[in-house]
Symmetry: C2
Subunit: 338 residues, 2 copies
Amino acid sequence: MSAIGDVARLAGVSKSTASRALSGNGYVSEATRKRVEDAARDIGYVASSNAASLVTGRTKNVGVVIPYVNRWFFGEVLDGIESTLIKAGYDLTLYRLSPEAEQRQRVFEYFLVRKRVDAVIAVGIELTGEEIQHLRSLGKPIVGLGGPIEGIPTIGIDDVAAARLATSHLVSLGHRRIMHLGGDQEVQMDFRVHAKRLSGFRQALEGAGIAASHDFRAVEFSIPGGYAAAMEVLADPRVRPTAIFAGCDEIAIGVIVAARQLGIQVPAELSVIGIDGHSLSATFGLTTLRQDPALQGATAATMALSQLAQPATHTAGGHNPIPVTLTMRSSTRVPASA
Amino acid sequence: MSAIGDVARLAGVSKSTASRALSGNGYVSEATRKRVEDAARDIGYVASSNAASLVTGRTKNVGVVIPYVNRWFFGEVLDGIESTLIKAGYDLTLYRLSPEAEQRQRVFEYFLVRKRVDAVIAVGIELTGEEIQHLRSLGKPIVGLGGPIEGIPTIGIDDVAAARLATSHLVSLGHRRIMHLGGDQEVQMDFRVHAKRLSGFRQALEGAGIAASHDFRAVEFSIPGGYAAAMEVLADPRVRPTAIFAGCDEIAIGVIVAARQLGIQVPAELSVIGIDGHSLSATFGLTTLRQDPALQGATAATMALSQLAQPATHTAGGHNPIPVTLTMRSSTRVPASA
DNA sequence: CGTCCTTCTGGAACCGGTTCCACATCGTGC
DNA sequence: GCACGATGTGGAACCGGTTCCAGAAGGACG
């Protein structure tokens, strides 16, 4: 209701002086600053960010584009981003991008563009050249999380390498009958995460000279998904693998739950390894490759903020790989046959 | 870059006509509308929402205040809210409110107030009278989710009644040694959810004439929390309860996992019931009281939008209780002793 | 034919801040 | 004593839209 003009009048100064006093830009004597601040407090003045944004061109708001909010990985990322932004005085506007192409286009052409955000963080979304062009033309910093995107700075783990490492861990323990329960190759997420993890798995097997046959099964990326698949895969003892590399910790946990119900000892009869470092992994004794999504989110936010601070630095694209660390727990060990 | 003036010039009309043509308000001939639209498309014009908001006072943006983003319940709620808002052409600005009072105050006094949101949805946050006053004075619709808040419309389940129902289910099966693993009474969430569920539990026991002693234990609201507590509680067969009412499904699942590891048959030797309808509850065969947080979120968003549409309706406060439905699965049954 | 209503358009004010520019003081160094 | 820089303040333009008002043109109706 109350505008800066009211504050100025009450303090007996001009609008411009009131603005300087409240924003801290430019010269204002200590005495007048005090008077203006008191006046502002008295009438409960709060600046209109719209008006300020209109003239400064900065909104103090960052847009986050993300495919899910109710999955562990993405929830953690969002948490990390939010914490970092709010500390820096930035708002976070959330765009959950469903897979529908039409809605996706709408978000990019309509929502993100209306001068409402200063920067965009794309989480688990591989932007198309056109989309990047669109955002780039507005001069907005863009940061990607989850995989490399041509021309913009990104962070994320190396999915191929991680899958290779996880598989190699099983191989080096002596496993030969290893199965990969991973994402459906038909319904790829962006960055082709499913395909990359399968590829890393195959690379590791080939490197060890292990013939790969019937070694992959597509499952949903969730505990129920891993559980259901494991129930089928593990039921027949004759064809049962001695180790499973799960596409993510949730699948791995589903496998462990299923194994326990089938009376299969983990790790004595079955080794299981996942990727993520899920908050449940410790409870299930899961050996996993830990990535820290909250930290990744915080890092992405920091990158966006620093680009905002010094736009001089010409948006240097490039992928910053995040290292994964092997957390050894009690779900993997030397196979019984060895 | 390009402003509406550029569009107007290109189309050979005035700013006001261009505005009318693009926004659809007021009289514009079909021919000029076409010309303006073409011109806008040609130069890739997008309206500045800041400028529009400044004069109209509407931002097409809703603020959501929420304590967690990486917990199942809140993630689902957020999902429901987001879907509903984006369909209506609204943005969603996220404020994750950590328990720190100082940060909370900052969000309410600084972030939410800057004329940047048209309405506020408070999820799992019990607003103080002062905070309501603050928002109310700005004439912004407010909707609460998770419990009743004096003077504003809210939705949520009746925690006392739900806990009573869950406990009664166990009692009616014949259980007498029933334990409640619920939230820490010292670290209450808002709306005192922990206390309400404990209270409903006690009410049901008293109603059945069952002496309550050592029947409650505080645990963290998570699977690891339930697991750790169950490991201690269930270890000694002499004092083991025959049934557990868990404060939420995550705790209940932790209990089931622990019981399985201890070789305790569920439900033969131990019945477990939870509250939530968690996406994992089916996998673990958990009997639970289902609430649908995504639907609750969508409903809250719809309420906020309808208030926005007809501000005439004087903000009628009042709590809209959401019914919970008992989903019977395989984790509860008549006790062995019966 | 005059009046009135509807449709269409342009000019100008306005939303609420920020910032540029001009001007006034005052202190300092030469 | 004067030039110059640093400090402090007010006036006015400006950001990019929306909307009010005035005026013109065309049709309907008495």
